[in-house]
């Protein structure tokens, strides 16, 4: 169980508490500057809150050995930086760094799970944006984390690749891991998350299933934009005005 227990951090987060569940996709939404990425980094153990704590199975993340934490929580940053032109295979293998072994079985399983078999010897510089996003996700999965925390994993992708990747993230949750995503796109959160946390500058304003958390009234209150949902459950679209 991953928990934010009254997390505060200089001007960005004010006493945020939330209990995240394994086997679910949780989306963190909110306007720019609300502290979504900051909260995610606190939950990943990468930022130390000034007040409160991020807890993993009842233990303060700050007190865990970095490697123990790394085995439990996989983190996918927004930038998708790959400084050197590794092969896909070697990129995915970086996910095994928290372990002493080379983990060939897990690396190959991650490559298979994301349909990268035919690309495994290709240098990453030759991949398309969608392929690169899949390879970076495979890198996290190779470490077999119980939690997958991703910052805007869909932002740089076109519609088809967004749907493909979000489907794969749902599969990760179905396999029992907890998936936490920072999402800007409220339609993606509405259609694909099991639960949505809405942050604004005053803190957490909603923690509920998407239909409740992303209620048009709340959207207007938090984002300052009148909006309504069109379409049916699972395929909704947000229209402003």
């Amino acid at each position: 169980m991953l928990e934010a227990r009254g997390i505060s951090l200089a001007g960005r987060l004010a006493g945020v508490s939330a209990l995240l569940r394994a086997g679910e996709v949780t989306a963190i939404c909110g306007p720019n500057g609300a502290g979504k990425s900051t909260l995610l980094q606190c939950l990943a153990g990468l930022l130390l809150p000034e007040g409160g704590a991020a807890m993993l199975d009842g233990a303060n993340l700050a007190s865990l050995e970095p490697r123990t934490r790394a085995r439990a929580i996989g983190y996918l940053p927004q930038e998708g930086e790959i400084a050197w032109d590794l092969s896909v295979q070697n990129l995915v293998a970086l996910g095994r760094l928290p372990y002493r072994d080379r983990g060939e079985a897990q690396v190959n399983a991650a490559i298979e799970a994301l349909d990268l078999e035919t690309l495994s010897t290709r240098p990453v510089s030759t991949l398309s944006g969608g392929e690169k996003a899949r390879a970076l996700l495979a890198r996290v999965l190779a470490g077999e984390p119980r939690w997958l925390l991703a910052d805007e994993p869909l932002a740089a992708l076109d519609l088809g690749h967004q749907l493909d990747l979000v489907g794969r993230l749902r599969e990760v949750a179905r396999s029992g891991a907890g998936v936490v995503l920072v999402l800007h796109d409220l339609s993606l959160a509405m259609n694909h998350a099991d639960r949505v946390l809405v942050l604004d500058k005053d803190g957490l304003v909603a923690d509920a299933p998407p239909e409740v958390a992303l209620d048009p009234e709340l959207i207007e209150q938090v984002w300052g934009v009148p909006a309504r949902w069109l379409g049916e459950r699972g395929a909704r679209a947000l229209v402003a005005g």
Partner: protein, 316 residues
Amino acid sequence: MTRPIPLLLLALAVALPLSLLAGRVWVDPWTTPNAAIILGELRLPRALLAVVVGGGLGAAGAAMQGYLRNPLADPGLFGIAPGAALGAVLSLLLGLPGGWLLPLFALAGAAGAMLLLALIAGRAGGIALFTLAGMMIASLAGALTSLAISLAPNAFATSEIVVWLMGALTDRGWPDVALAAPLTGAGIALLRLGGRGLDALTLGEAAARSLGVAPGRLQALLVAGIGLTVGSGVAVAGVIGFVGLMVPHLVRPLTDRRPASLIIPSALAGALLVLIADCLCRLLPLVTELRLGIALSLIGAPFFLHLLLKMRREAV
């Protein structure tokens, strides 16, 4: 991938004995008079010193590029080489007797630069602040070195300092090897220990930390490793530039491009490059022997420009 390691070892095994024979006077071990003394007391320590200094610079360059995630990074950026040079120049300025004191002053200068770096960068281990601190230390050490030169009591002392700064392996002996080899070996081992952290940094600082890398520990390993390799290199051979920049570039395509798998091949290739460059310095028919530091800069600067042009083409 370990393919480049046996290849480079083989090349070194061929180049090292050949380099012993090459020079202003070609030595034939069987007919040249006093061949045993020339080889054992002059050329062998010089060749081994070239291997040690080049190996240290190559490994330091590979680690530095991995740490800064930048193929144009050079170990000189951390200010450790200029710090070591300042120490050596001070010992020359003070007119201290040769032998052990100059290398010790150089090592003290390198240690001072390392300490300053560690103090400024603090415990957080942020890379941008660290790089800026290194650059400031480098320019401070450079300014103090210039000041020392301007304070030299006479023209002879000035010229002694300037010539020393150019870097060379002439007239070095076994004591220099005994000083530099263990320190450089320890430095390369520390850099190699940081390999996993450097691999993780491929994905950026945040991802590296999420993979369990402790940034402060990685930084400490690098400062100590680069301090030992570069500091001991400057202590025995003066300032030799561009090896740390060029070598990782030349070797990277032979490896799987992970920073960790680049360190040992870069050490071997650096050793080979400095060994060959030093031989060429001896062989060139000039009135006085070309200084090794100048020779490598003459090769290195155009190489760097070539790299920049290539990167510009790729960026278009």
